[in-house]
Amino acid sequence: MPLSKEEIELIKRILGHEPRAEELAMFESQWSEHCSYKSSRLLLKLLPSHAKHVIIGPGRDAPAVEVFPGVAIVFKIESHNHPSAVDPYNGAATGIGGIVRDILTLGAKPIALLDLLYLGNPRDPHANWLVRNIVKGISDYGNRIGVPTVAGDTWFDKSFNKQPLVNVACIGLVETKKLLTAAPEPGDLILVVGNSTGRDGLLGSSFASRPLSEDTDKDLGAVQVGDPLIEKLLIDVIDELVNRNLVKYIKDLGGGGLTTAISETAADYNLGVEIYLDKLHVRESDLTPLELLVSESQERMLIVTDRSRLRQVVELLEHYEVPYSIIGSFNNSGRIKVYYKEKLVADVPAKDLAHPPALERPYKPPVKVIDLWKSISIPEPNDIADAIVKVFGSLNIVSRRWIYEQYDYGVGIRTVLEPGRADAAVLRLLDGTNRGIAVKGDANPRYTSIDPFRGGANAVAECFRNLVAVGSEPLAIVDELNAGNPEKPEHYWFFAQMVKGVAWMADELKLPVVGGKVSFYNENERGEQVKPTTTIVGIGRIHDVSKTLTIDLKEHGSSIMILGTTYPELGASEYLYVVHGIEAGEVPIPRPSLELRVASLMRQLIRNNYVKSAHDISVGGLIVALLEMAVTGGLGLNIDLSKVPTRGIRRLDELLFSESQARYLIEIDEGNVDKILKLASEYNVEASVIGKVVDKNHIELRYNSRKITVLDLEFLAELYYNNLGKAIEG
């Protein structure tokens, strides 16, 4: 977004003179929504970010959480929505590059990636092109840098046909004592390492801070192009620089390029900076000072070291053949002075540049949203088996194998539970112990587009359940809020409500929101916002990765138990959309106190070794969770639906497809049923055995003695594993 008239006046007052072109470009870049959070900063203060185990909260390039004594996890989420809409391959690839570099800034080793993709209908030719190239971009980049892509989330919806949401997250591992927490000091040297600076991505952050234009070709110059080989070299060399204690401070040259990196660093530590642009290693010799300041060329990082260690730093960079330039140093002035060939081209106060005034944006609920919440009257399906197959075969339900098999999820030999096996991915620390972490990302764009408060809250709750279901203890989350145009009060309302929903649920579940990102201007070419979406990525701690739980049924004769209560909550459900073509209704009520009780019970059951497989119940409802367990385990089920604990349920479709929160399915030995029921009542959780695992090729559903339907396991497995590939490749 170009600067507003008021902003230009303010800049004149800050500088005390007519701004030079370079100075104006620096302000435009840094004061963009993408870099400055000017429209979101005030509301983001609502998010709880403190806890005993939080070492670094929001503010740095990435937060850090102590998961075990002396072991820290650094993790962060990022969006590359706008670049991916214009150039899906490079847009998605450079999203991976950027998030990995954020993790490197704290000295952590990147050990896992997640991709959270909200994509258009793959049967639409344009959306199909986006889907294939976004996945290929992540595959080619992520695989080449040797960081496994272990988990994610995918949603298909025609609202994303032109403007997809590409959110990526990275997880890093570092010894707490090696975390780079030091501050740069006056006299310290500034190096730019990695890729040379070119003309790509000029003012890319500014481009990401406005709606897509009609003619997207014009924006192509604002999309960066990635080079994963240099990124991999950066990963290796930073690992060694940190291990040998040669650097003090690192920052990514991401959105806003050099301008953002130096102005934020100087502002954060009350420093001034002197830099010499002609020292930068460049791709093209005719770059102007302005272009050098705002270029967003990828795979560049700013590293800070003192003069005594410079020689060793340089030796190491040369050994690994990583290009670098020493461009300047810090001082006490509080000003950023930029020189080009001995000429002063910019002189601005660091703090004023880094932190534009926050904007208090007005918001109001769109009237048509309220209308979506009215009661919905639908006929009960005549053919329930047909409805089940339609929901189970929905692209929002079926296996994501077509996507995750294009990712190297095993490199690094930490991946204990890879994609497709469990509710969350599990990684071992690989430190000779059995300790590890669980990671998962979740969103439901339909929920947040109908009721952003509940949708935001439910995304947090679902991530929490997924982490619990594998047997981990959830520790922290990061959020990505994908919203529309903050200048439009009816768009901004969604953002405000999503923040409040996340803040409330995170508080209730005692999950600190340690970091996050905001993406505005996710609109189509007609100025309509795409479905506003809250994406949550969470991590959990695991003491023994060999005891983690997968979703696949294990054994003939086991009992299937449901934990939690099912309410008539079909609003905004997958069933309502797939079978009745309705995207409306009341989004399921978030139930934090029940979430906490069921989660405590789950952890107790897992500690007692009672649970053989576990699965959280979410989109698609009870029946989908049951079928997923059967299909992945290759075993059949006999289920009596009359045994499901319910409240207010009157119809079979409500029972099968309700998306009530705070529910899990577990597979257990029959002999433990009484002990588990006793524990459930101690934890004040409704629980009931609803059926048995059978070594047969079908799933039989009945209600008391009334037979409802019998579904063929092989047919369902074919649907589950191949439907997505068919939809994309035809």
Partner: protein, 226 residues
Amino acid sequence: MAKIAILKFPGTNCDYDVLWAIKSVGNLDAEIVWYKDFSVKGWDAIIIPGGFSYGDWLRAGAIAARTRAVERIAEAVSQGVPVLGICNGFQILIEAELLPGALLLNDSGKFVCRWIRLKIEKPKGPWLLLAYDGQEVDMPVAHAEGRYYVEDYIQIEALPKIKYLDGWNPNGSAYNIAGIGSSDGLVLGLMPHPERAAEPILVPRGFSTGGSIVFKSISKALKSGW
């Protein structure tokens, strides 16, 4: 104690994984060696691990195969030092013509990461010392250019081979070839990743630790010959 060099190029990414497997499963000493620092002397065996040397630019393995380090590997082979190439390492050995055939883009046109079942045929040499003919093993693959091609099967008929079991060929390889050795088995290359299949904790339900045979074999071979 025998010592193994794990050769690292710009873009190699399975170096640490192989180091871990060599130490924890093979109980051998090993070191990651930057390609420029590599010399033949002092190594009892050499492994070129997986990854994307030089970003797979041009063709997978093509640039690394033309480095001084790989010339030295050819010297090492002539001196009787065992060499193993895994995934990108296999691609490099093929590009360097230390093993026959070619590795092409997968028939799906896409990268594929998946556990598969394999069968070892005519095992020979230090890397497959403990394997028997027809032994079935499981490992994951993770590659985009792994479709093996050879003009005539006669060229490779007598060689040690690792084949995908019928129905498990992930890339359209000719004759289900997943890996191939030199006639004496001193050089072995394979697309699947033994280092990811050497510990039970990494193995999904329904598969087994098929990779450990490689590390146990080299360990025994370097201790008591082959």
